[in-house]
Symmetry: D2
């Protein structure tokens, strides 16, 4: 009787939801171009479920990822903090096991992970690309990280500084991890918090920069392409596989993206900008003016401020849209270059990406 009932009931839940929130099953891609040599993969390496202090069943994270255009996701329940344990199993591998079939159906790359949750310092650390959480559930912090590394895992420091700036300092334990080559990255973005100090560490020490949702609640994002999206990590990988993602993390080929801000290294963000923006030859002259179309093929709105001599003082290149810019008193037959800073593309704390808009000669 129950197997019949199961079909029946699962179909009623699907049916009723389809009707009420039809968008649940529809995926809208997040649009970022690839950069030379690498594919741009959209990842969230930090989410929670009812198996620790999250508030959703693990399959919900897979449905959200599909809907929001995410390619790869880790479910990273706390090892040491399971406040629902009166009612929910404390099996550390359960959330991955429950999520896996949904990930396969939804064509999401599900990365196995967990959160090592200690006092500050050291703080909280995610271990991803692991095989089994149980050996990581051990008393000594360094043993726990070591167990993750032994499984071929990648370990990063979560939200440094969320307990106050004074507790978000690089301390001896972090240096130890780093010296052992056990620390692969740091969250420069967690939810809507940006940690500039972490941005600096990553630049200095060659660590991967991560941006993650750290979702506990259900995600409410619907039309992610309008700028309404969770914090995410862009990974620049050689292939569209988990192995290639991990290689990219190890090589620190990442950027972190929240709202309308992207944080990373100039070597990745400059080609990302150049692949995003098309500048066309002037389509019209009128008195001393040239009219030039510019198109942004990405889902990041770029906010530019002029640093050179010509062009409008500021230019907003809206996500997935085009604008027409008017240039006055310029030589028409030469190739024209406009110098700007992309102020919301941070290549270091308080330092926007310098960009050049090259306007082709009229044919």
């Amino acid at each position: 009787m129950f197997s019949t009932l199961r079909l029946v009931c699962s179909s009623i839940s699907i049916l009723s939801m389809l009707a009420v929130t039809a968008a649940a099953d529809t995926r809208r891609e997040i649009q970022f171009p690839d950069i030379p040599g690498f594919k741009t993969i959209i990842c969230d390496f930090h989410t929670h479920t009812v198996f620790s202090d999250g508030l959703v069943w693990p399959t919900v994270r897979m449905d959200e990822a599909w809907r929001e255009g995410i390619d790869a996701i880790a479910v990273t329940d706390h090892i040491e903090y399971q406040p629902h344990s009166d009612y929910v199993s404390t099996d550390h591998n359960a959330s991955y096991e429950v999520a896996r079939p949904a990930a396969q159906r939804n064509k999401i790359m599900l990365i196995k992970g967990t959160e090592i949750t200690r006092g500050t310092p050291p703080g909280h650390f995610n271990a991803v690309f692991i095989k089994d959480v149980d050996p990581i559930d051990t008393g000594e912090f360094l043993d726990a990280v070591g167990a993750a590394m032994k499984q071929g895992g990648f370990v990063f420091w979560n939200h440094p500084g969320w307990k106050g700036p004074e507790l978000g300092r690089w301390q001896e334990v972090h240096q130890t991890l780093y010296d052992k080559k056990w620390l692969g990255g740091v969250e420069v973005l967690n939810g809507t918090s940006y940690y500039p100090l972490a941005h600096e560490w990553c630049l200095e020490k060659g660590l991967a920069m991560l941006g993650n949702s750290d979702f506990h609640q259900p995600s409410m994002h619907k039309r992610t392409e309008t700028g309404d999206h969770r914090a995410l990590t862009l990974v620049f990988a050689e292939e569209f596989t988990q192995d290639a993602i991990q290689d990219a993390l190890n090589a620190a080929r990442t950027a972190a993206w929240d709202q309308n801000r992207i944080i990373g290294r100039e070597e990745h963000l400059a080609p990302l900008f150049n692949a995003s923006i098309q500048v066309f030859a002037p389509h019209h002259k009128d008195g001393g003016s040239l009219w030039i179309e510019m198109k942004n093929n990405s889902h990041l709105t770029y906010e530019l401020k002029r640093t050179g001599d010509i062009g409008p003082e500021s230019i907003t290149l809206e996500a997935d849209a085009s604008i027409i810019v008017r240039l006055e008193s310029v030589e028409r037959n030469a190739e024209i270059t406009l110098e700007y800073t992309a102020e919301n593309v941070l290549i270091a704390p308080n330092k926007g990406l310098p960009v050049t808009l090259t306007i082709p000669k009229q044919p």
Copy 2:
């Protein structure tokens, strides 16, 4: 250490979510006027959590209710169907216990309930206003309903017809329940499905009409006032208490509302329409025309079609908005009445509510 950690971790989850989906904590009221003698209370009597086949922790249902402007809600997990039982407790009272503190903090009336889940016939039945689910978990269907009634519960038939129209018929078992006065109502709306046959039964037999979300997934509704809301039951109650809600259900003083459609009895929907709509004296004459403002103070957009001799062929009175209607060739000093049918206010299957718009004389 863990109690400290608990505070810390719960605050991070709150903080990160506040930032990313700030709307989560904000309530927007659903606007419906009271009707003479009764308060209009917004209720959802059918939702699920991880404790049966739902996909959210019970507190999420309380946060959704706050955000969406709902006054009273029941969590009604299946007794006989608990597909997460490998990982989640099968305690039938657990979802209520977990939800209760969140309901108190959020000022939501939490009604204790459960879903008695049998093959068809009889089908599925919700028991609400109960005290303990355990005695209802019994083999014989009639014993289960009897146990709910013994606790002072109210029992209604869920989604008749979702397994196909032929299975949604009124059968002997339903007559038995009815004869015992154990059947108080029927879902005329479940999610986005409307059951006209159930609408007829309720009219004939004096049963309460219910409209419920039957949510299994997280709710994605944000600005409910724009028409984007779950299926709900409007209860016309003497007071804003659980007892008064139950009295109203017993007296069949309810209506069911989905999207832009409301289903009920003329005796409740006529006063609801009249309390929603204000018609003002003409504010302007121009040649043979009068210009009249009409205002809709409710969150239901009324779609009117003319049945009388004067007025525009159709009038749309958008939710929480005003329009100006032009009347031609009418006597200016008389009180003018316009006869219409509100086509999306169903007082029987395929039968809209007849309404009269009375335009006051110019002062």
Copy 3:
């Protein structure tokens, strides 16, 4: 002094609007694929300005076209109806002259046109691709159309039937126009009105089907890609030029699009559907089920209903989005074909486009 003031004032108007409605200057493309042999060009052949009974300055139509992703537009002010003539010039060529510089700056193809506005019958007719409106301002209706043809114009019948179905009949005058080869097309869509009779005429007589906004008010459409767009004509042209658009009209290679409905001929809409939809090889097997991703690369949401034996009863392929469809009990190694009707793609009145979804074999 005034030339300085002019610059100053035009810059304040641009500045203040940029700030308040920043989207005004941003173009979002309307996404439709090309079809084999032809480019898909987005056109509106029917708009008004203050030079007849419209309510905007002609340049506004060019700004709207840019913003909304329209490629080519005609401003077609009434010849015989100029209700603003107390204040505004009755020069029939003025709206084109005023609009032209804005069209050039905005990279919009501006097609010169006018509306020949007579009682019913014959009704209203647009003449587009003309050179001078003045010779068309003549007493006899046939002389007016003849004058447009002499200039190399293309003439189509506007909104047949808007004065009531009985006045929307094909009458002697229309047959005369047709026999002279002076009638090139008919509006099957005007604003939100669809004229099924006109759809039939076009199929029978080889006429172009047009869908136009007939805007008099300012356009309020912002994010056209979400389905919120004006009525438009899709033209399937050999090149992206005005001449090629006119050739396509003469060859009746058009379709009319409003909201979520497209009206045309099977020979154009079948390749448009096929170019819009990608079906991928199954990415997952699970028990007896296959999971298949389908992607819609167009801005039309396709509503499919099953006509064959396998597949879900209905499939909604949302605009610019992907879904995953589950197939049960099918042979895995064969190429699978699903037979459906696209119900909102009308190839004749009440007749949806038959489509086949071919699921590639697993590699």
Copy 4:
């Protein structure tokens, strides 16, 4: 024939627009409470039409005002700048005459006005509540202002500083106007520009603060209540009449509102805040915590920052919504007061309104 045609054509324009942009005819009120002794009236004193350098027919301004919930509006075309004069009448009173019937039908208070448009200094000045623009069209600037005053007009300085801060200074000519009591106010907001210097002048010299759209383009605002609104002036008037509005301007009882910021005097903004916000007695105690509901009955989202000892560090009171605030470790039986600054309510440049949230004792 033409009178018939007129009816026909105007009906087609109405019909087609109703269908395509149905919202055009629907008004949503802007929600601000009255303050003790005064009604809060929503006004825009600065808009343009095709009769100067605007881009819409004057009736469009009346339709926009209706739709956006505006109570009173002035059309203020430039006297000295009429760039459409090749095609459009230069009659300075025409835009008022054309707009008037639409204002009457739409129940909008239409205030007669014009813009006196000179080089800087003196700059641009609006004269409103005038009777005839012609006498104001005179060579000497002071004569022009004098002519407006003679008609009982109210004159204010527009967008001081839009030609650069150095040109936005209070100069001799402004002092002359002020000494003659001819200068009644200054725009502290124009479109999205805020002029802090003007804010200071108004405080020092007792001038009315104005916030106006200065619209030249069509307005794109649809659901103004979500924060998407034009710059506006809130006038605190004794009655809902034009005379009372002018009295209020003369008494400087105004505030200027753009996006999510309001600019004015403490004596008006403090009672506006108090009338907007309801704080309820604690509805729940839990351990050492009290849970308190706060409701914002206005369409301004208030952003509060704590200045006192208790309460959350910051509180966002969203427009037309409620929140629940948790207080820890407070005495339960006393009346509790929370001290905050409303940072987006500017009572002077860089100075937010100090507010007290008084939590009633539990009953």
